[in-house]
Subunit: 488 residues, 2 copies
Amino acid sequence: ADKVKRFPGLVRREIWKVGKDDPRRILHSLKVGLALALVSLLYLMEPLFKGIGSNAMWAVMTVVVVMEFTVGGTLSKGLNRGLGTSLAGLLAFFIEYLADNPDQIFRAIFIGAAVFLLGAAATFVRFIPYIKKNYDYGVMVFLLTFNLIIVSSYRVDNVLKMAKDRISTICIGVGLCLVMSLFVFPNWSGEDLHKSTISKLEGLANSVEATVVEYFSDSKKQANEDDSSEDPIYKCYEAVLDSKARDETLALQASWEPRYSKCCQRIPWQQYAKVGASLRHFSYTVVALHGCLQSEIQTPRSIRDLYKDSCIRLAQEVSKVLRVMANSIRKKHQFSLQILSNNLNEVLQDLDNALKSQPQLLLGSRNSRSRTPKISTKATAHNDNRLEEETRLSLSSIKSDCCSPVGSKSKEHSREQIKEGQRQKKVLRPQLSKIIITSLEFSEALPFAAFTSMLVEMVAKLDHVMDKVEELGRMSHFREFRDGDDDE
Amino acid sequence: ADKVKRFPGLVRREIWKVGKDDPRRILHSLKVGLALALVSLLYLMEPLFKGIGSNAMWAVMTVVVVMEFTVGGTLSKGLNRGLGTSLAGLLAFFIEYLADNPDQIFRAIFIGAAVFLLGAAATFVRFIPYIKKNYDYGVMVFLLTFNLIIVSSYRVDNVLKMAKDRISTICIGVGLCLVMSLFVFPNWSGEDLHKSTISKLEGLANSVEATVVEYFSDSKKQANEDDSSEDPIYKCYEAVLDSKARDETLALQASWEPRYSKCCQRIPWQQYAKVGASLRHFSYTVVALHGCLQSEIQTPRSIRDLYKDSCIRLAQEVSKVLRVMANSIRKKHQFSLQILSNNLNEVLQDLDNALKSQPQLLLGSRNSRSRTPKISTKATAHNDNRLEEETRLSLSSIKSDCCSPVGSKSKEHSREQIKEGQRQKKVLRPQLSKIIITSLEFSEALPFAAFTSMLVEMVAKLDHVMDKVEELGRMSHFREFRDGDDDE
């Protein structure tokens, strides 16, 4: 009984939420209502009805079926409907012409066979992936119209007029839908895709930052958040993990939309889908990183705290890169791959320095713990030796990386440099990883080593995302990078 | 020109592939053709046409729109269509009753307002997630029918008869679709879901095994496969990563299907979706593990080879657990969580033993390399000490784990034991990880440590999958586990 009483409140809250989440939905609902009311006038107003007659029904039907939330959706359905209807009409007349025989039974059999064959063929065609993706609705409408016309033709004499009336009313319906979609507060799929790409980049930036901060924060709070499934970090990247279907639909609808970039070139919506795919792969690493928070064995806080600053700085740099890319897409300017790569290299080096500079501290904290007291002095001596050794090796390689000349701004040249920078970074990274693991050789350090290696892996995946976004920038003819663009 | 010439061949191959991938598609196409031919008889045969008249058109339309590939899809669309039409009819008559006024202009305005309001409300309702998921099509049909009836009512006098005819023809169409779906070679969504769950489990099993084998195999072959994007390992788990939309659609459609398990209880399709979700999370770890193959720095083969057997054995055990679960779902019997957990524990312990037993060998191979020759003797002494220390600690805990009594087969009891076993495994795992990282303290060992820690992480995720599958077994009342079930 209590549940029944609460039910209206629940419904009201749900409806309120749906409207508040996206106010365009309310607008769209009113638009559909208006379109339906307008198309009803064909029936309700005497002069209009005289011209069209009861075929006005088809216009009503078209409006209900074709009107979609976004311009791309409406256009793709409308054009599919138009095309399907026209083709079906032509074919139906051709078959009727073939079936033109005084013998009624022969005609019936002929029509039945045609219906069977076309029905089976059209249904099978709908399974072909390319058709299914682009023209599924069109084939269905084709089948529908073909059947209606060919079957009616058996009884009605003036099928040609009927078909013409029907097609013209469908055109009226499609036209009304397009006008309402295109000119009255239009919702563009492309814009949605654009915005969702930006918000995914920013969501990932937030979750990377939050994950690393939480890893180094008070562990009590952490335990609490494990219990609730409402983990805010999870929510940030959850949307990215399952974005495939939505991305592809939006990219498909957007490709129907008549929108062009400044230079009158098509906006490469499929590239947005590719950026989405690379973000999904990036997010798998974020999942693994987030998993480190929940694993049962944890490196002692005292050790973690030593590297807190460098790790957080690396995470912040990764987040910054993601945000710069988000901004670059939002403001439609390209970004400087080189500067970002250099910054990333710098913080990777920072982390490396931190791991190198603290061997004594690390060992000191180790000494204060009870597990491996017997061997710690021996280990100290040995470690110092080895660390210094490796440090010398890798520092030299790092220095040669960071001093690569930065100069000319001509695009081709900087592109080359970037490639070079990336190659150097790829050389740099393994070196760093070696040092990282070297300084983290003790048992409690496994989870921290995994965490660090995930951070480094994330930078590798980030490379891929940066490539895709940079390609998007070039394909969309974003304006070139200017100094100060990244500061915003 | 060459492209045009090749085009027919391409199309033919594509069509052949679509049919070969799933021969049920051909059957379904023939079924739709047959259904359309049958429904056309309403029009083509004189006695039937006399009874129904030109409203037979609605039956044709219904068949085209409602007939879906699976029984669940057809049922959900058919019932949605029936419900939507009936409700719309009722509401339309109610509103017509209200609008019963001799003044034609008042009636027109009243009808127009009703169309606008209902159109806006119905469109908005379609945005509510619950409605969108279950009744989207129903609401659309409701809006369509309501508009057609209310608008027609303005001109046609005998609306009641028209509506009755229309509803009865729609019922004929829906009935025909259901008969064709349910009784002529039915395709069940539930069966698809069942099979796809099994194949996902097996695909993951294959990819885990292949990844680990490839990690320890000849590195030349590995480089080749990096180049081609046609990586067979990727293909195995790719289907799992993006399975969310398909799983949920199938589970939804399956829940409309009138299928019951042996004990006349509903099959918990939503639990299949949950198993799918846990498999998706498991697959993120597989992605990370697979990423280890592609990372630029690799642990020297000589070191890797030492642990080859244990790692491969662990991977094989993980694969075996996945296959046992696949078999358990396929043959509808429960599986023994306890035995599987014990086996997993055993191979984890194996890996641990391997890591412990080879310190000399490990150091020997290290000596033979050039990077850290100065310190290797010191390290040897130190390592032996520490490893032995830790070994003693962890071996005792492992032994107490593995000797837990295995006996009574009463379900409750074994369930408790399983829980206990799981807890013990959770205690065991960190211990092992400690030893693993301890013995892998050298720089080249980072990638291997990450690989090993991913393997261990994978076992943790596997736990979750096992829980979900076990729950599925209980909810579906699979028959209880018997000795020998796992041997098949």
